[in-house]
Symmetry: D2
Subunit: 296 residues, 4 copies
Amino acid sequence: MSGMSSTPDDRRFVLTLGCPDRPGIIARITSFIADFGGSIVEAGYHSDLETGWFFTRQAIKAATVPFDLDELRERFTTVAADLGPETDWQVHDSGERRRAVLLVSKDGHCLHDLLGRAASGELPATIEAVIGNHPDLAGMTEAHGIKFHYIPFPKDPAERGPAFEQMRELVDAHDPHAVVLARFMQVLPAELCEHWAGKAINIHHSFLPSFVGARPYHQAFARGVKLIGATCHYVTAELDAGPILEQDVTRIDHADTVRDMVRQGRDIERVVLARGLRWHLEGRVLVHGRRTVVFE
Amino acid sequence: MSGMSSTPDDRRFVLTLGCPDRPGIIARITSFIADFGGSIVEAGYHSDLETGWFFTRQAIKAATVPFDLDELRERFTTVAADLGPETDWQVHDSGERRRAVLLVSKDGHCLHDLLGRAASGELPATIEAVIGNHPDLAGMTEAHGIKFHYIPFPKDPAERGPAFEQMRELVDAHDPHAVVLARFMQVLPAELCEHWAGKAINIHHSFLPSFVGARPYHQAFARGVKLIGATCHYVTAELDAGPILEQDVTRIDHADTVRDMVRQGRDIERVVLARGLRWHLEGRVLVHGRRTVVFE
Amino acid sequence: MSGMSSTPDDRRFVLTLGCPDRPGIIARITSFIADFGGSIVEAGYHSDLETGWFFTRQAIKAATVPFDLDELRERFTTVAADLGPETDWQVHDSGERRRAVLLVSKDGHCLHDLLGRAASGELPATIEAVIGNHPDLAGMTEAHGIKFHYIPFPKDPAERGPAFEQMRELVDAHDPHAVVLARFMQVLPAELCEHWAGKAINIHHSFLPSFVGARPYHQAFARGVKLIGATCHYVTAELDAGPILEQDVTRIDHADTVRDMVRQGRDIERVVLARGLRWHLEGRVLVHGRRTVVFE
Amino acid sequence: MSGMSSTPDDRRFVLTLGCPDRPGIIARITSFIADFGGSIVEAGYHSDLETGWFFTRQAIKAATVPFDLDELRERFTTVAADLGPETDWQVHDSGERRRAVLLVSKDGHCLHDLLGRAASGELPATIEAVIGNHPDLAGMTEAHGIKFHYIPFPKDPAERGPAFEQMRELVDAHDPHAVVLARFMQVLPAELCEHWAGKAINIHHSFLPSFVGARPYHQAFARGVKLIGATCHYVTAELDAGPILEQDVTRIDHADTVRDMVRQGRDIERVVLARGLRWHLEGRVLVHGRRTVVFE
């Protein structure tokens, strides 16, 4: 498993930035980095011709930066100011382990998969806690030494306010970089969507925008599609309509029942969620309106 | 190219059948075939557990059938009667070349692809004629020795009745097994959908049911999906809602403009249409409600 | 999870058969089934034109069979005799849980995945035991309540005979339907390949026949391929050359290091092994020479 | 089709460069561009950690460059010199149509596809001529107004020298950017491989390195693989071993005969060749040893 664990030499300061496009931005940023001898090990750039917006992600080898993260941020402030007041940027240290909290219900395949990835060092985050509206997955979680919180949800959606409030407090106590709805199956209230905007990530078991909402495999069966899919997206107040991080599909045919689709779909859901979540945690995803720029 | 052309030995009588499921159907049909010494070279069966319907496709080596197609049909009538009054079946001779008529507009990539497949013996049909509501593709068509009919369409949809009527007559004159909307871009009137039911085939440039209607690549761009697709379906009165024969997708990313999607989408459209059309022509597709059984 | 567990009504007697092809086989078999009122819920047929061999798999609803498995076997003997002395067939009861033993080394992603599938009822087998030539995966295994056996392997391959002998005894004690090399990373001695022929299944981390042997991702990197893959195959004495059950690939590009390939490859390995193993356990795979017929 | 044709505004000067990696390269190059007000509309960077080599491709909006291509080249010479003597770079004008010559044999599917793409403006090159060692594809070529040269090849490979010499002269007369072996099926002599190094592109009908050489679909059938593929690669003296531009695969199963594979494989061959060729023509491919960097 050692091949996966990071060595000190892998440590990077990762800059992500979006701003209105104009000539000279890349030169400005990379000259700033070159001036202190920084070595860029990974660089992504995107000029969106439709919106006139520019995006970049730069991974600088930490060992080549002669000061710490705070000073890097401080120094970069001047560059960002030059790029205009709309500039949106951040720098993070890849050596600082990120934190995720998982929300689950009864279906354990995504949870099991993420626990396995975390255990083998494949997930660039620690799973701080798992919260379920059913107790079914407590055992699986605790076997990995992770705390499971069971919050029963009232049948009547109108009475779920306190349960969501409790969930919010439990989640926020970990100050997580990602709140993962790992087949949570509950619609978050609008204020929670707003509160966790940009870090709540859902896996929906269809190729969105097809088959929004409940029982997408049943919808897919009824429509007679020849491929089924899964979509990893940021959670927003509009159901299944947030910016998409990743999608994939798998082929089915007439002989596949809904149950077969459920089984085959799980293989897609696991991988799509894991990929989207990893990209999010590594600062590879920049959101712009309803679209995402993903520097894989 | 010789590898593609059929030899006399390849000739098959192809039986397709759908009926309410019950024990003994396969035995009844295959005993009928075995009794005259017929050799089944390809057999597909499907029991649809949801609808309780049974489907089969059997390709019998023609050289092992001691009588002609008409007598085979005549004899099979008794079997079909035993399977109940709802039984829907047909037998065709793979040695009898099938006929297709193509409807086009300005975009030539699907037409060009089908012309090439026909020329190289890959399409199990002759292209009898091509009809366009623009004259642009006349040259490409005629270079293959195929008649092109140009029918100008009035701007006002309300005035297109005579144009559609002329199209209907031109098409029907060939008594085609398939009427292919090869990026025709016009919505057929309900009565034509009805008239050509089960043989009018469209290629839609999205992964249906996502992005019904006009400019699906623009819709896909706006939604920020990570895969784009194409769908080959039977034409019905409800727009882009007919039974699906085939679908496929290709991966895109944030750097792809609508123009890039159009280009990449064409590679999917060509292949999806060609596959769906071939299956239709070879009697591999059985329609049941909104779903298709495809014996590949 | 209940959607995955089988109900009594799902129980099937599954017949698989291979024999020299000739007219009338399907009629003979299906008449036999129809005669006792058996309902065929899934049927696959394949006539191999190259080898002149016929293959079939029939899943008969157990509730429609008026006698038990032994009597079904007994009665079918007469049919099989009619199909010739080379006929190879078996019948199994889907209600009878199958047994698997897993061989592992240090890499836990395939083991973890199979444990999760078994726990959620997705694997049509119980995992009887896990045997490792390293102790690393004992904890993961035992957390699922499954016995882990650690067999240290001498460095010198010439001295591994006793270790393999011990492994053989441990495995055979469970009389398993499948012996799964879940990234076991050791070449089985020829006599074990022979002894477990048709039930030892390996996952190789390349798209065979490319990159046989050690460190296939390094080989793939050096060759500059644009897709990497994984292959699930039966183990035979010739390294990585056994009949293939399943393969799949994923796209990479120039920016992917060997470490990236290892990570992305794991997602393929997991799924390819799980699919191949499930098909094997459900009696969907018939081997003929170096090729497999898979009735998905 | 107009969506595909480039407008003056689309014109770009495209810089591609490879050199030993060290800090400051991106800053050096982009500052050079920023200094004259150049707008970078597409930028790709790759630091190869294994070889310590750096690669970039920058597409600069031509309208923002205040001098012509020659002066841009002249000015950039200084920058390149700063990056070290091993630096390999070029600049081309996307507005200058590129030239391709196609080599064919009897199989017309790749030729037909490329002719269609050229006709619809999808291929960023003009097809200057087609040369065949059989006359079969003359008609298809000439229907597109393109000159076809038939060069008969002696049966005895030892006697083919003059034919290859004639081919070389015909090809070189067009000074092409790409010499495309569109299912040419002949092994080029080593001196021609050398002569056309970096511009001769082949499509091989297998997923290399599997099934090198003749009749790859027969090899694939015999091995029982579950996916077949195609590979677009630069031609080198070692057979089917040149740097790979693109690959793709399609799923097959036991029911597919070699003839089915040939048919399905063609759909992959067409697309893989078209993609690889387009990337080559647009200066998106940088070769380093046996690997390619492809800035899609």
